[in-house]
């Protein structure tokens, strides 16, 4: 990946070429328009943005708009979902209030929990874990990477060797160990995933910083009497953070996969918390008996969400490269 030479709004271009002035605003505007244009023109990117927006919306409002309580049994055990042909009629009857209870759009599982409610309530768990884990690794990785790239001494050398060592660890096993031994709750999963994904960001930021720190604007910032850490955090950091920000989208996707995978093997959040991976696991014993709906719907949700984050990540990467 090239260092941020394409970033038109970044300070070094202003320093080196045009000087501050009206150009800055134009440059900023152009970058925003590019993304809107990308959204309009590239169907795949648009799809990704919509999926990401929807998943974040459901993380906030999913449990609120769910027709049933996602953790309470309804008494309808192992109901198959109504056939797709009946959905329009059922939908009409629901909004006009002709039914005494809302239909089980996705059926119910073998303890009577409503799959539809659980599927749309699950982003509260999955997205919280994935977003916070990505945030933890982004912040920790960027700061450590900046320090490791900016200062060169034995401490940062140790830091980089530790980071190398952590990348040699098997990701899935490490996450399982951390979560299972520290206790299977949300905050431990967030910390475990954050720790597992930090080395990627350390590496990305450090590579970027190494390319930036010999540039003219860094010398200029020093020459006007800024202290070292001010130069590092106020001047070098904003210019080195873009690759990490782009990586974040992909990392969120992988964190969703890992969260679901951990619950699936029994080392993640505990049932009956609505979570896609544990829903698939609960349905997996039923699937050879033909009760497909318990696993199918949460799986489709994961599949679309992670693909959405991957397309957004890819789109951004293409745009900024």
């Amino acid at each position: 990946m090239t260092s941020g030479t394409t970033g038109a709004e970044t300070p070094q271009n202003i320093d080196q070429h045009t000087g501050p002035g009206p150009n800055v605003d134009i440059a900023k505007k152009r970058r925003q328009i590019d993304l809107v244009k990308k959204f309009r023109e590239e169907k795949l990117f648009a799809f990704g943005v919509i999926v990401v927006a929807l998943s974040i919306f459901l993380a906030f409002f999913g449990p609120v708009i769910a027709p049933y309580d996602p953790t309470l049994a309804t008494g309808d055990v192992s109901f198959a979902p109504p056939s797709l042909l009946k959905w329009p009629t059922l939908f009409w009857q629901t909004i006009t209030g002709q039914l005494d209870q809302p239909p089980h759009w996705f059926g119910t599982d073998n303890s009577g929990l409503d799959i539809f409610s659980r599927t749309i309530a699950a982003p509260r768990t999955d997205m919280t874990i994935a977003l916070l884990a990505a945030l933890v690794s982004l912040v920790a990785g960027t700061v450590l990477g900046l320090v490791a790239g900016f200062y060169k001494n034995w401490a940062t050398e140790v830091l980089m060797r530790t980071s190398d060592l952590m990348q040699a660890f098997p990701v899935f096993i490490t996450a399982m160990i951390l979560v299972a031994l520290a206790g299977r709750n949300t905050s431990n999963i967030i910390l475990a995933l954050g720790l597992v994904y930090t080395p990627i960001f350390v590496r990305l930021t450090r590579a970027e910083v190494l390319g930036q720190k010999t540039r003219g604007y860094v010398t200029a910032a020093r020459a006007v009497g800024n202290r070292e850490w001010v130069v590092a955090f106020r001047h070098v950091l904003p210019n080195s953070v873009v690759p990490s920000l782009i990586q974040t989208s992909t990392t969120i996707g992988f964190a969703i996969l890992l969260t679901a995978g951990l619950s699936f093997v029994g080392a993640g959040v505990r049932p009956p918390t609505p979570e896609w991976g544990s829903m698939i696991a609960l349905g997996s014993q039923q699937i050879i008996l033909g009760e497909w709906w318990q696993s199918v719907f949460p799986g489709i949700a994961i599949s679309l969400t992670v693909f959405g984050f991957a397309t957004v990540g890819h789109g951004l990467e293409e745009e900024y490269r």
């Binding site: 040699a168 660890f169 096993i173 031994l181 698939i280 890819h314």
Partner: protein
């Protein structure tokens, strides 16, 4: 020359392995888990608790525990790493290294076949896609690569089981795939263990029936992994092919009048090197990351062993698993770096 490179790499690897063992050792002891309570149960008397604690050596100081694990300054009867042992499992009591020796080949067989097939599918697909950039096939391959690389493989595994085992039986009366209950039909004799790869063992001992049955049982798990893993590999090979096809030496080869096919073969050789690296990374990742697939198909691989040891707080088994996985991954990386040199003449050691 190459020997010096290998020796240097092995030395670095040994340092890394020591680092990994130490990190795992201290990490699992730092986390607030109580393996003794897991062994004796919540309602055990303090005496029973103390006895269990002493029997697994957790009553010693952490440094003494480390000594026992490494096998230097040891005060326990169980041999340590220096004596070529990874200790005894706390749940089963048998040596960890023997248990891993039983579970590891299953995982190796699963992921070796999967990555081999993914590679064989990915290279021609990526070549076709890269030689006609921008075409429909190219776009479809690209979307496929992005999609497959971001899929929950365990869910697809379940879907395949539902479709090929249940649905086909329900509709046509024949299952296209066996029940996901192990590596072989339990009514057939398993072949003697030679390589540990059940399909190959059956083949070299001439047990045709066992060979077919084992291959049939591996069809879906391997298929699932190929489905997920081939995506990113196709993407990677295609990206490299496009880049290489634009390079000067391809232009030179073209201007010398080579046919398109011959030029593509030149390009392929250079584009393969990064793909090999990716295969190596996937190999390391899947050694521990194939757990869900192993569970779905009840294969009894290293992943299942590791999740069992982790949920039982079986420290020697956890330490052993991580160390063995690290050793195998480092060996794979080394092999791939050596292969690189043969593929790409620009690399020298």
């Amino acid at each position: 020359m190459i020997l010096r490179f290998i020796i240097r790499r092995v030395l670095i690897a040994i340092v890394q392995l020591v680092g990994i063992s130490l990190v795992v050792f201290f990490l699992i002891r730092l986390l607030p888990a109580d393996p003794v309570a897991r062994l004796v149960g919540m309602n055990a008397t303090p005496e029973a608790y103390a006895q269990a604690e002493a029997s697994i050596g957790l009553d010693r100081s952490v440094m003494q525990q480390l000594g026992n694990y490494l096998g230097v300054f040891s005060d326990s009867k169980v041999p340590g790493i220096a004596q070529g042992s990874l200790g005894d499992s706390w749940t089963t009591g048998s040596p960890v290294i023997e248990e891993i020796g039983r579970f590891l080949p299953v995982t190796l067989e699963l992921i070796t076949y999967s990555l081999l097939i993914s590679f064989l599918i990915a290279v021609p697909t990526a070549m076709a896609s890269a030689t006609r950039p921008g075409g429909f096939g190219d776009k479809a391959t690209f979307v496929w690569g992005l999609f497959a690389g971001s899929q929950p493989e365990f869910w697809w595994g379940l879907m395949f089981v539902f479709f090929f085992f249940f649905w086909t039986f329900d509709t046509f009366g024949v299952s296209l795939a066996p029940a996901p209950l192990g590596r072989m039909n339990p009514l057939l004799y398993e072949p003697n263990v030679i390589t540990g790869f059940i399909v190959i063992d059956a083949l070299i001992q001439g047990q045709f029936k066992a060979f077919v049955d084992a291959a049939w049982h591996l069809m879906l798990p391997v298929g699932t992994l190929v489905f997920v893993v081939s995506g990113p590999i196709i993407k990677m090979v295609r990206q490299n092919m496009v880049r290489v096809l634009r390079s000067d030496y391809i232009l030179y080869a073209r201007s010398c009048g080579h046919s398109d096919r011959a030029v593509a073969m030149y390009a392929l050789r250079a584009a393969m090197a990064p793909a090999m690296t990716l295969i190596g990374i996937f190999y390391g990742f899947l050694l521990g990351g194939a757990v869900p697939i192993e569970l779905i198909f009840a294969l009894g691989g290293l992943g299942e062993y590791s999740i069992r040891s982790i949920l039982n707080f079986d420290y020697p088994a956890i330490q052993g698993t991580v160390l063995i996985i690290a050793i195998v991954s480092l060996l794979i990386y080394l092999t791939i770096d050596i292969l690189h040199a043969f593929l790409d003449p620009r690399i020298t050691f």
